[in-house]
Symmetry: C2
Subunit: 301 residues, 2 copies
């Protein structure tokens, strides 16, 4: 598994510059008015993200037999949504983080007002990019379906709903089902939408979309279990932030509920479930998704 994860990491690192170039082209230039807002948006989009969600979108299109390039606008859109959520999540009213991935957060550099607006504008840009692609692609309805999925995965019964549950969970008892529901919304919905939306714009059929949904749901939860483990076991250097933040905020986590060993086993079982979900798709097309599943388990930050 470590070897596959290395292959996936290399694949990720080779594709990242292509994703970054696409993000650069959809973002207004840093000298466009208002400059402060555009600089703030660019600061956070280019603050060292792994681009896991864009990779999932591209690999989702590939898994459906499409060319990965067709999904690039969708890959950009999910990363814009992810970035906006990080900006808002770092605000003083939320986690009040001055650092993210070892870089100063948006509000630490540009102030709270501009940071809120930068997040708002990144969300709008995500839907602008999807609409543009719908209008220029040969399959506008697939793009509209993917845009609809992205909107619902981002909203009050998706990511924003999960953020709310997370804020309200601090200091409260939450059982394992409650924790799973929280993460299914907070991080799972957007991870699943990334791979499934990629499959949609890659003209995946109903069988493929179902397989990608199962894959995304399992991978999303695995991602969060590993995130919780890293907060217990990782180093500040690996994480780009201080570990132990969950415990300090009295935030329920998988290790705090079921222990470190059982959490590791859970992550491994979820990874296996994600891989198994791909069985109905041609295996040569799903190679990147298999690698990404291993990468999620093996990652150290």
């Amino acid at each position: 598994m470590a070897e596959v994860a290395t292959a996936a990491r290399e694949y990720l690192e080779a594709t990242r510059p292509v994703v970054d170039a696409a993000l650069d082209s959809v973002l207004p230039g840093a000298s466009a008015i208002p400059e402060s807002l555009h600089a703030a948006m660019r600061h956070s989009v280019f603050a060292g993200g792994k681009r896991l969600r864009p990779m999932l979108a591209l690999a989702g299109a590939e898994a459906c037999g499409g060319a990965r390039e067709v999904a690039m606008p969708f890959a950009c859109a999910v990363e814009l949504i992810h970035t906006y959520s990080l900006i808002h999540d770092d605000l003083p009213a939320f986690d009040d983080e001055a650092l993210r991935r070892g870089q100063p957060t948006c509000h630490a550099v540009y102030g709270e007002t501009i940071a809120i607006l930068a997040g708002d504008a990144l969300q709008a840009l995500a839907f602008e990019v999807v609409s543009d692609a719908a209008l220029t692609s040969g399959n506008p309805l697939d793009w509209t379906r993917a845009g609809r999925l992205l909107a619902s995965a981002s909203g009050s019964v998706g990511m924003c709903g999960g953020q709310t549950l997370d804020v309200e969970a601090a200091g409260h008892d939450l059982d394992l089902d409650g924790l799973r529901q929280l993460h299914a919304l907070k991080t799972g919905a957007l991870l699943t939408a990334s791979v499934v939306g990629g499959g949609m714009v890659g003209t995946g059929d109903a069988t493929a979309i179902r397989a990608l949904t199962d894959y995304g749901d399992a991978l999303g939860l695995a991602f969060q279990v590993v995130d919780d483990l890293l907060d217990v076991e990782g180093t500040a250097e690996e994480l780009g932030k201080n570990p132990g933040g969950d415990a300090a905020r009295d935030q329920p986590t998988f290790p705090s509920l079921i222990g470190v060993e059982a959490s590791r086993a859970e992550a491994k079982a979820l990874r296996d479930r994600a891989i198994t979900a791909l069985d109905s798709l041609p295996s040569e097309n799903t190679e990147p998704l298999r690698g990404l599943a291993d990468y999620v388990i093996a990652r150290s930050h």
Copy 2:
């Protein structure tokens, strides 16, 4: 003009319950999980808005010869965007308002964290509603065009950009052109997108879309000039908030730059420009838009 404005106000008041019912149907129920988030979203959507933007969307569709009902999802989407912008604009990092339209603001009731998330989720819902309509309408590409317009009008070179210019303008000298640009982005872009997007989903042709764009641009600026005048001349009872806020924040306004009389003349000239823009459309279809232009000038809050 006062008589036409009265007719427009009656028309507005008769249509408002229909818009409110549509908004109620697109918002998740207040008991949907997470309850606090959905309650916060509903609190602000139903805090007594005039529904001017939805009316513009419906009247825009009518002006193109369509049935007003076809544009109802778009009317809801623009109001969701408008509401999210008010929630964020009232936050402590912005205007720090405890009251809006005489009601407690979202963060005053639900706290800052939930208020930020409620705004974020309302934006996502707007694009979900537009995507849904695109998938079920007979003219999906028109809906996608309208959605794209809504996204760009909301984003960094639209409303969020205007908010940024507004925040940065406080305490600085701004000339009349600078003030016009600020308002063209901050309030004008969404007002224009409301009427033009309504026209798009009402299958307006290029001539109609151009006429609606000119109408919206003039109306949007007239709206802001009147807003500035009300802040000087209105009473707290009429406004639902204390007047004089612009002066207190040292915010540049039309009256502060050109005086009250010249501002009134400017508003009247912009109203005439808006009406003239409609000349290329059949006059029986544009009656609601004419009335709305007079209403904007005659309104007291």
